[in-house]
């Protein structure tokens, strides 16, 4: 039996998303298909899998990513699906612990990658806000004003998300000063 659940997570809530997918798996609903705001689960034995979510440097179709995914599969993980550069891996719980990273440097790299993505989105979004503001208040295009307002709200959200991930990143960097 398959079950489709629609749910949205912002980029900066990647930890919450991973936690939710694992909680679903604990209840016997295993993720088999991930889309934008859409998750397909298959019913099975509760707690049979552990899931991990990762932002890759390149799209999964890229040679480097394909090489990485093949490597993950060699080590017993299963590639479930991807949404843009986000990939979902799982491993049978019976095969033991499943972590993507085992040292602080690789964790910092991963969080840094997410931070860069949010930063790019925030810059692009910021430019859009300025353009709409100019159109609305300098060019006197009335319709641009509510759009500017809407985009500005989203920009604030992005900046809050950036701050959240930055705090995670900086915490890890501080930790690195004293340990591996």
């Amino acid at each position: 039996m398959r079950r489709v659940i629609r749910k949205a997570f912002f980029i900066w809530n990647f930890r919450e998303e991973e936690k939710w997918i694992n909680e679903m798996s604990e209840q016997g609903l295993h993720l088999v298909d991930a889309g934008r705001f859409r998750y397909v689960f298959e019913e099975g034995e509760p707690g049979a899998y552990r899931y991990r979510l990762e932002l890759l440097q390149n799209y999964p179709s890229h040679a480097e990513s394909a090489d990485y995914i093949a490597f993950m599969e060699e080590t017993g993980a299963e590639y479930v699906d991807h949404v843009d550069r986000w990939v979902y891996f799982r491993k049978k719980a019976a095969d033991g612990e499943f972590d993507l990273y085992s040292d602080i440097n690789s964790r910092i790299d991963h969080v840094g990658r997410i931070l860069t993505l949010i930063r790019i989105l925030a810059v692009v979004e910021g430019i859009c806000v300025v353009m709409e503001l100019l159109a609305g208040f300098v060019g006197h295009v009335e319709a641009a004003r509510p759009i500017a307002g809407f985009l500005a709200c989203f920009e604030v959200l992005l900046l809050m998300g950036w701050k959240k991930v930055k705090a995670i990143h900086d915490g890890l960097v501080r930790e690195r000063a004293i340990r591996e």
Partner: protein, 103 residues
């Protein structure tokens, strides 16, 4: 040569590659060598292997089937030797100082 400290992951990867192994073999070997303490996660291992290849400390062997195997090079051995000297210094200094703590 600049004095560098290897990460625990790199140290165990280099030791494991004393004989040709593929990725999963390295993970198993490192865990076994360390008595179950060191568990290399695949993402960390993958990144470290690529960096070690670039530095020439390990080499990739001809692919047999789909799994790529790796082996340590002379440069890699040199890095391990230097690391052992460093560890020996750490250990002897640590023991010398802490010896007096429980007296």
């Amino acid at each position: 040569m600049e004095a560098i400290a290897l990460t625990e992951a790199v140290y165990y990867i280099l030791l494991s590659l004393d004989r040709p192994l593929h990725g999963y073999g390295i993970m198993q070997n490192a865990e076994q060598l360390s008595g179950g303490r060191v568990r290399l996660a695949a993402g960390t291992l993958y990144g470290a292997l690529n960096t070690l290849l670039e530095k020439g400390w390990i080499k990739a062997l001809e692919e047999n089937g789909r799994k790529k195997e790796y082996e340590i090079t002379e440069l890699g051995r040199e890095a391990v030797r230097r690391e052992i000297l460093r560890l020996r210094e750490l250990l002897s200094n640590g023991e010398m100082i802490t010896k007096g703590w429980d007296a």
